[in-house]
Amino acid sequence: MLTTSELQDMYRLMALITATSNRACAEVKAGSLQSAFYPVRGLEGVCAALGVAKQPGDQLVSTYRSLGDALAWGSDLRRVIAEIYGRADGVCGGKGGPMHLHDTSVGYMTSTGIVGSGIPIAVGLGIAAQLDGPNSNGTGRAVVTTFGDGATSIGAFHEGMNMAALWKLPVLFLCQNNQWGEHTPIAEYAGSTDLAGRAASYGMTAVKVDGFDPVATADVLREALERARSDGGPTFVEAMTYRLTGHSGSADYSYMPAEELAAALERDPVPSFRRAMLTSGQISEADLDSIEASVAATVDDAFTFAQASPEVEGHLRYRDVFAEGASLAGMGVRA
């Protein structure tokens, strides 16, 4: 059972994700943001559920479609947006960009632009967590990796899943099933669309959940994370959602069946959650409104900050290729 404050947190997170994603897309379309940005509309409920289910110390490996995950994980919005702009104040100093957010200060370990590649990396973090064992408070650390439905087709998924099942690693594999891999719907690329069934075949706990229902999703994720932290092994969670935008910030969605998209939009996380809260009376209209207003201000502030952040200076080009001290002279870089 989620507390009112948790429900409010979830709403705030969802609203923040929607607003930020929409704003970034608008900037891309306006030409004022020149970067490959991947909207997260439709995933707000899953991300918000993750935000309340995670605990400090847990670690995340995300993808190119990472904005919602980053905010769920507690990354600073200003610095995330600055990174999307490739500016000096970005979480990665502008070198990563939107596909490669990293924020180790909150345990957000890496993001990959190569579909499925985060899965084995999360396995490695899982081994580390297992070897480290419980912390001084007696709790273990869980590792979460997010990926899309389309990622379940690639070899890295298979290799990582088998390892996690074999070694009973404390990893939550969170499949954000938005029913599309770029422009191809799931039925056109999967021999069987029962992705949880694949996970089960490795001998892993596998659960399907309605990702448009953040409360139900939070329950499932909490249980999975609990299992991980208490050495109960990995869980695969298939969170069923739908992509409420095109694939990328600029892409069209003419190829998506209009009725399907319209049906999914009926379940758009922020408005449906709002309705549910009002119906159940768990959050008052005034509170919802005030959350929304504060979210709008936060987003404005973050974009203003990012746009004002300086360009990265040219002399940093060859920093961080290797740790400081390694000479690049033989490879043609003059100091």
Binding site: A36, K95, G96, G116
Partner: protein
């Protein structure tokens, strides 16, 4: 090449590629296309295969799972099974998830079988830009040059894109065909109407000149041309060679030019270190020792992953070329 001047039409590289695919699929029912999102309505993420699945059906224009080893492996199997597959790997960086099928299988099967199995496979792949970040903007052609058994083709013009792609599809061996995102929509030129083939292994002299040779390919042809123009205005005559194919490599054209100019710059987007330019420079030096008036200069990307930040862009510019030419001329 052609005896008569063919009819031409101005089009983008994207349109030229689309036209080549239509013509090839039309001419030979054994030609197939497979890859992620290649079918209509989207017709490929860059829409280069637009219209093909509608015309030739999804058996011949097959959208695939996100599974590049599966895609290239299946394409190798199709080639062994008598077809002429064209496999699309959306970004060149993704060759890293299917390099085994390209390097150990496509490139080696003819040799390992003692000539009994040909792999007439064309792999089309795109090179992204900095805006996509470090995992979507690598120029990895040097790896494939260093892999005997696969041809490496990089068009710089729309006409060449059409003519080289048709030659790759015809070719009895695997070809890696590299489409730069920077060129696909912005490069427009006169493209012959109907079937058009540019033979693999023949460089083109894009601009004749006699003081310095600039050897390049792909996106950097534009840079070289811009630099050559600027230098011409300063009274310096530069010859620009567009290699067009890196394997087979047309060293004859290169050496003939440098024999004349006695000075050369090699220019590319790939990293300089252990890159294509090193091979070119080494061969030119080996062959024209005593003729060269200065060492061959190399201009490429520096030794770092591709930075996302705009301020860190690290590909050579026309200014770099102008400076290098100046250096060779002792100015």
């Amino acid at each position: 090449m052609n005896e008569q001047t063919p009819l031409t039409e101005t089009m983008t590289m994207a349109a030229a590629l689309n036209s080549a695919l239509h013509l090839a699929m039309d001419a030979d029912s054994k030609v197939l296309l497979l890859g992620e999102d290649v079918a209509d309505p989207i017709g490929g993420v860059l829409k280069i295969s637009k219209g093909l699945s509608t015309k030739y059906g999804r058996d011949r224009v097959r959208p695939t799972p996100i599974a590049e080893s599966g895609i290239i492996g299946a394409a190798v199997g199709l080639a062994l099974g008598g077809y002429k597959p064209i496999a699309e790997i959306m970004f060149m960086d993704f060759t890293t998830v299917c390099l085994d099928q390209i390097v150990n299988h496509a490139a080696k099967l003819r040799y390992m079988s003692g000539g009994h199995t040909a792999v007439p496979l064309t792999i089309r792949t795109g090179v992204g830009t900095r805006r996509f970040g470090a995992q979507h903007a690598q120029n990895l052609e040097a790896w494939f040059m260093h892999t005997p058994g696969i041809k490496v083709v990089v068009p710089a013009t729309a006409a060449d894109a059409k003519g080289l792609l048709m030659s790759c599809i015809d070719d009895p061996d695997p070809c890696l065909f590299i489409e730069h995102f920077d060129l696909v929509f912005t490069q427009k030129d006169e493209v012959p109407v109907g079937e058009h083939r540019v033979p693999l292994g023949q460089a083109a002299i894009r601009r004749p000149g006699d003081q310095v040779t600039v050897i390049t390919y792909g996106t950097q042809v534009r840079t070289a041309m811009a630099a050559a123009q600027e230098l011409a205005e300063q009274g310096i005559s530069v010859e620009v060679i567009d290699l067009r194919t890196l394997v087979p490599l047309d060293m004859d054209t290169v050496l003939e030019s440098v024999e004349k100019t006695r000075r050369a710059v090699v220019l590319h987007d790939a990293h300089t270190f252990c890159g294509p330019g090193a091979e070119l420079a080494a061969q030119i030096t080996e062959n024209l020792w005593g003729e060269l008036l200065a060492p061959v200069l190399r201009l490429g990307a520096g030794y770092s992953p591709v930075p996302f930040a705009a301020g860190l862009d690290f590909h050579p510019t026309a200014d770099d070329v102008v400076a290098a030419v100046g250096q060779l001329l002792g100015r």
